[in-house]
């Protein structure tokens, strides 16, 4: 009975794991990078100084208010992100359909740093939860893949249950190649199971409504004409001029017990000051509201029902905006492990079938797709970092140029993988992709250095860390490419 169950679970784990794993790998990788989305944005906007952290001044807030009003006149729904320990500048942001973009101001003088336009870390954040496909079908697809991940994890547990405890830290990298890959898959899956399980569960729960809406898909439309609403990130009409923001923010912070990093949203009637996301693991939307006309206090919303509080905790744990730096690094490493789990799973799937189905066209297509996600995605990601340094700073439509370059690179490597795999040169395709990855990663620090885009004294640790990680990924790719040249033992 148990063996039959294991066999069935093995089939489910293999096929569902492979088909979902192709996209899950990209979701894991982009989610891993999104842990440091703010820091990536800092790397990509070297014009913004990071060394000063000053308290907000009324002059800076007045400049921000003028920027908000100007943006609203253009029809954008604009908000302020106040300086915090993690992001020590005043940002005036609006949603462009994918990312939050806008100028960064000095919290002391209110002058704009005029940073280059960039997709920044927001790109990876958006890609992680929607694959840049919007709510429909992007978020729906990612949520469905989250469900698939939960099923794959469950079936994997059933298969490995017997050896789970004795083989907890068993790794045989010096054994036969298939053995080493299976061990790597198991080590990543078992040791990081708590993290992967809770991220899969919370990630799926956050957007579960897009798969299981509270209303029926076929419910009749409510009586009366539909309510007129603006598209996401846009305004139907701009509100009256803003009152002085400094006293409102002081009051709001006192009421919310949230000293920095707050968001300030503007409606036609209200100015809403939100509690910082970094205040704790509960991602609350507590806010204090003030009248937009004269700035008098209207109300504060600071209590939540148990159901809402549960969802706030689920969101808070998944987004990890509360997390101190050490914990964020643990999230990052765990994300890398999840990516390695998906990657090794795909490789094991192919290894297992190469002897019996290696000549099959579907197998070769599967190998090309595997190559596209395991090596193509990191190459395209590094390409985005290259584009940030190589494209002219004043280029119009710079954000889309970076993103287009990312997808163009990814498509080119997908075509290259497909051509070589279909012509039975898969090994060459793996090697060539890995050498390209080694080149892209290894040369990024040099490109950063030669671009001269930032003084190394200001926020040096951030630039060094990003460059070092890129270099390390290049080194690993080079090692893998050299290893592939040797015959399998």
């Amino acid at each position: 009975m148990r063996d039959t169950l294991r066999v069935h679970m093995g089939w489910l784990h293999s096929w569902l794991g492979f088909l979902a794993g192709l996209l899950l790998l990209c979701i894991f990788a982009s989610g891993t990078l999104a842990v440091f989305d703010t820091e990536i944005t800092h790397w990509m906007q070297p014009e913004v100084p990071l060394h000063t952290r000053t308290a907000l001044t009324p002059a800076a807030l007045n400049a921000a208010a003028q920027a908000v009003e100007a943006s609203e006149r253009q029809g954008f729904s604009t908000f302020l992100s106040l300086p915090s320990h993690r992001d020590p500048v005043l940002r005036v942001l609006h949603y462009d359909g994918y990312e939050f973009t806008g100028p960064a101001l000095s919290p002391e003088t209110g002058t704009s740093f005029a940073p280059r336009e960039t997709a920044g870390g927001q790109f990876f954040y958006n890609f992680h939860f929607s694959l840049r496909g919007g709510d429909h079908p992007g978020v729906q697809l990612v949520t469905f893949l989250g469900l698939c991940l939960l099923v794959t994890l469950g079936s994997g547990l059933v298969i490995h249950l017997k050896a789970l405890w004795p083989d907890l830290v068993l790794l045989r990298p010096f054994g036969p190649r298939p053995r080493a890959w299976v061990d790597a898959h198991l080590i990543a899956g078992v040791l990081f199971l708590p993290f992967i399980l809770f991220m899969a569960y919370t990630g799926t729960a956050i957007h579960a409504r897009v798969l299981l809406p509270a209303q029926s898909f076929f419910s009749p439309s409510p009586a009366g004409p539909p309510k007129k609403s603006a598209p996401k990130g846009r305004l139907l009409q701009a509100g009256p001029p803003l009152p002085p923001l400094a006293p409102l923010i002081t009051q709001g912070r006192e009421r919310l017990h949230s000293p920095d990093g707050n968001l300030v949203l503007f409606t036609a009637d209200d100015v809403r000051i939100f509690r910082s996301d970094a205040s704790g693991p509960f991602l609350t939307r507590d806010h204090a509201d003030f009248s937009r006309k004269d700035g008098h206090f209207l109300r504060s919303v600071t209590r939540s029902s148990p159901t809402v509080a549960t969802m706030q905790l689920v969101r808070g744990l998944h987004y990890a905006r509360y997390a101190p730096l050490t914990l964020r690094w643990l999230y990052f490493l765990s994300g890398l492990a999840a990516t390695a789990l998906a990657g090794s799973g795909l490789v094991v799937f192919l290894m297992k079938r190469r002897r019996s189905s290696g000549e099959n066209a579907f197998f070769r297509l599967a190998e090309a797709l595997t190559l596209t996600v395991i090596t193509g995605f990191p190459i395209a990601t590094l390409g985005l970092f290259w584009a940030n340094r190589c494209l002219p700073v004043a280029l119009t439509g710079r954000i889309m140029a970076e993103i287009d370059l990312f997808f163009t690179l990814w498509t080119l490597f997908a075509i290259h993988a497909l051509l070589l795999c279909l012509r039975r040169h898969a090994a060459a395709a793996w090697r060539q992709h890995l050498y390209c990855l080694a080149l892209a990663g290894g040369m990024l620090p040099l490109v950063d250095l030669l671009s001269g885009s930032h003084p190394w004294g200001d926020g040096a640790m951030l630039f060094v860390t990003v460059d070092a990680l890129a270099f390390l990924s290049g080194l690993i790719a080079l090692f893998a490419a050299q290893h592939l040249r040797r015959p399998a033992t």
């Binding site: 990298p173 080590i187 990081f192 997390a323």
Partner: protein, 97 residues
């Protein structure tokens, strides 16, 4: 410093766990008393690591504990693999596929 200590405890626990497996008895032979000691350390070290993590951060201690445990598990498995390889007795096992 507290987190570093928690890391050491996790690594020690995983090392004891691996040494206690029957497949390693030939590579790392040990007397009965050492087996008991290893079993004790394997049970106590993670508990102590949890206590340290909760001391470090009462609200986020469990997350630190789990995260450090995972990372230390990988580090220990790599170290053990290198150690076994150096002794020339790595249990290669039969290819799984």
């Amino acid at each position: 410093m507290i987190l570093l200590l928690a890391c050491v405890l996790w690594c020690v626990a995983f090392r004891c766990h691996e040494w206690l497996q029957s497949r390693n008895r030939t590579t790392f032979p040990m007397p009965v008393r050492a087996v008991w000691l290893n079993q004790g350390v394997r049970a106590l070290a993670p508990c102590l690591a949890l206590a340290l993590c909760l001391m470090h951060s009462p609200a986020l201690g469990v997350l630190f504990w789990l995260g450090l445990g995972s990372v230390c598990g990988v580090c220990t498995s790599v170290l053990m693999a290198v150690l076994k390889n150096k002794r020339g007795r790595a249990p290669a096992g039969k290819p799984p596929l």
